[in-house]
Every structure is written in structure tokens, then in C-alpha cells.
């Protein structure tokens, strides 16, 4: 009975953390989509799916998830220096300033709500580290420690992160007029089998192996703040 309760708690925590209703400011991020939609480089559901594919394989799976996984393992063994190292490595790997700032802001937003929801000493430590500038509190790293505090298994944390990322972007795409609510569900369904591959890719990499290659999206992110009209932070 206790085992069933524990599994149920973990599943419910998984749903709570990956739900777009969970307040962490993700609805203000478009990850470059707004710029690309504005310039006409993304116009159709297929364009959007291609954009997701590139982001997942050439950025999220090859850097964000790697840092997340290392931070989770460090969190499990209470190796606080290694959590910090995952954060610093990801910061160094994230070359575009607006992206670093957005990662930091959404990490702080997540941490603020998570500390209230799942009181945990490591979350308090992370908040202190950010406060004194020892840690950037990038979103994937905070997500890892929050996931551990909420009692999630590593595979569930990775899935929760990817699910939140993909559904958040679908929401942004709908608001930008790139696709409608029905097509958004089809994109989610189409991309789902790929998430496992993205996770496998991340699992094989060390912090030193992290890489990204998304030049078009990087340029779009850099130009975002110069758009005449903006709905999103990125």
C-alpha cells in the first residue's frame, strides 16, 4: 500500500510539475519563435515542427537536458558543488545573452513557486547561491533540483521538462498564429516518439560534451529585442 501511495504521489507530482498551469512564467517565452514568425521564416505547422525538431536535437537534448541530468544526479547525492558546476557549465555553453537571461528568470520563477510547494533544504541553498551570485539558477538546473525535491524519478523529470518545453512552445505558436489548437495537438503527437531519442542523446553526454548548433534560431533570438512589437520575453 505504501509503495502504491509512493508511486501515485510521484505520478501526481510529475503531472503537477509538467502541467502548463504550473506557474513559472513559461508562457512569456517563445525561444526565438516570435522573431522567426515575424520574419516569415516560420509560417506553417510543418515549419513549426521542423523548428521544434532542431531545438530538441541541437540544443535542448545536447545541452539543457545534459545539465539537468547531471544536476539531478548531484542533487540526489547532495553534491552541491556539482549542482553549481552543472549550472556554470550550462551558462558557459549558452552564448546568446537574452537566452541566458531568460533561462535565469524562468529558473528563479520556478524556484520561487517550488520552494513554497515542496519545502526543501537544497532549494533554499540554491536560492541563497543565486542571491549571492554564486549560481545563475538556470531553468534546467533548477528544474532538476525541484524534480528531486518533488520525488520524481530521473526519467520522469526529463520527460516533464521536455513536455513542458514542447507544450509551452505550442501555446506560443498558437498565440502567434502559426497554427491552431487542432494542429498543435497533432504536432505534440508527432513529436512525442522523438522525445525518447532526445533523452537517450542527453544521457550519453557529459557536461564537457555539451554542444549546441542552432545558428538561425540564435540570430532570431539576438534580433528579438529589436522587433517593433513583442509579445514574448524571448
Amino acid at each position: 500500500m505504501t509503495g502504491n501511495r509512493s508511486v501515485l504521489d510521484s505520478r501526481l507530482a510529475l503531472m503537477q510539475l509538467s502541467d502548463s498551469f504550473f506557474p513559472s512564467g513559461s508562457f512569456t517565452l517563445s525561444h526565438g519563435l516570435e522573431s522567426l514568425a515575424h520574419s516569415g521564416q516560420i509560417q506553417s505547422p510543418q515549419d513549426f515542427q521542423d523548428f521544434l525538431h532542431i531545438l530538441l536535437y541541437q540544443k535542448v537534448g545536447s545541452s539543457d537536458l545534459v545539465a539537468l541530468l547531471h544536476a539531478y544526479q548531484a542533487s540526489q547525492s547532495a553534491a552541491l558543488d556539482e549542482i553549481r558546476q552543472a549550472d556554470l557549465s550550462l551558462f558557459a555553453q549558452t552564448l546568446i545573452q537574452p537566452v541566458r537571461e531568460a533561462q535565469g528568470k524562468s529558473g528563479r520563477a520556478l524556484l520561487m513557486v517550488a520552494r513554497s510547494t515542496w519545502p526543501d533544504r537544497q532549494l533554499d541553498w540554491l536560492a541563497d547561491q543565486i542571491s549571492v551570485g554564486q549560481c545563475h539558477g538556470l531553468h534546467p538546473v533548477v528544474f532538476a533540483v525541484v524534480g528531486r525535491a518533488a520525488g520524481l524519478e530521473p526519467s520522469d523529470i526529463l520527460l516533464a521538462y521536455l513536455h513542458s518545453f514542447v507544450t509551452g512552445l505550442c501555446g506560443a505558436a498558437i498565440r502567434l498564429g502559426v497554427l491552431g489548437h487542432l494542429k498543435a495537438q497533432l504536432v505534440l503527437k508527432a513529436i512525442a516518439p522523438e522525445l525518447e531519442t532526445v533523452i537517450a542523446q542527453a544521457t550519453d553526454l557529459t557536461l564537457e560534451d555539451m554542444w549546441t548548433c542552432t545558428p538561425l534560431i540564435d540570430i532570431a533570438q539576438m534580433g528579438h529585442q529589436h522587433l517593433p512589437q513583442r509579445q514574448f520575453m524571448t
Binding site: S24, G25, F27, T28, L110, M112, R175, M233
Partner: protein, 215 residues
Amino acid sequence: MTDDIQSAARVGIGGPVGSGKTALLEGLVPRLMQQGIEVAVVTNDLLTQEDADRLRRKGFLPSERIVGVETGSCPHTAIREDPTMNLLAVQDLERLIPQLDLVFIESGGDNLASTFSYDLVDTYIFVIDVGAGDDIPRKNGPGFMQADLVVINKVDIAPYVGADLAVIRREVAARRREKPVAYTNCKTGEGLDQVVYFISETVLFQTSQTAVKVI
């Protein structure tokens, strides 16, 4: 993160597009500053940072005291379901300006249903204008009904838009009962002392010497 930092009072300003939220701020901020209140503003524009830029151009607040937050086309989410980005903006202001007394959070223009989370603000003001019609109070919008103070703005244009102020006053009193209402013309400053009084009394816990009680 900011547990050791003094919290400033937080006042939300919501209401439909064009009702006069930014004009209200332009009237309130100088009046509060004259009383020695340290003020900052967080704006939530639907697009760009138009309202933040408008306030900066006015020049009555140093630009670092005006922060714009993008809301991903979801102004109501940013002040209610997920106000985290606004909270971060307030925390950053509190960290930057430790002597801060008061932060206004101006919502992006929304509809009559927009309400603020009390996890974000201590109190909030809902602004409507008579140009939207004298039947607005009858619609019982949650923003209008639940706000701690309703501001009926642009009272000067009532005769030109076919709005009957007497009808508005009657409907407001019937629906909001004892909850306060201020009638303003933000362009001339008419009625703004009542709003200052509300803020002073409600969140600053002081009563202005010159202010007029809200009717």
C-alpha cells in the same frame, strides 16, 4: 532569495484597453512622490514596452524605477494564474531600491473579467472610463465587482459620448455597495486625491494631510 529584503507595498492597476491606467499612474506617481513616498512601476504591455516607454518619457521617475514585463499575449495570466514574472520584477526593484515604499503593477489592457492575484498585490484598482458606456457597471464584470477600488475615469467626456454619470453613480452604488469608487479626470487631476487617499490608507497605513476621503 529575497527573504531578507524589505517588501514594498504592491498596488495593481487593471482595466480595459484605453481606460486610462497609464494616465492614472502619470497623475498618481508625482502626487505620491510629493509626499515623500518612494515609488516604482512595473508595466505589462500586450505588445512591446509602450506603456513603460511612455512613463519613462514623462521623466518623473528615474528609468530604473520603470520595468516592462512581456506577457506573451496573456495579460490576465501575468497578474493572476502565473504572476511569477511580475513578482521577479518587483523583487528586482526591491533589491535595487531598498528604500522603496510602493510598487505599482499596471496590467496590460484586458477585459472586465481581469482580476489580480493577492499573491502578487496587496490591493488593486480597476479603471473603466465613461466612454465605454454607462452600462458597464451593469455587466457585473469580476474586475469591476471585486477590485478594492474602482476608478471611473474621463468623467469630463460623459456629455459627448451619451453616457449619463447619474446612471453610472446609481449602478455603481447598487453593485459595489460599500466598496470605494473614485470619479476622475486624469488629464486635469480631478478626483486623484481620492485615489491617493485610498492608497495611503490601505497599503501605506498613513493618512494624507491633503487628501480627500473616497466617496
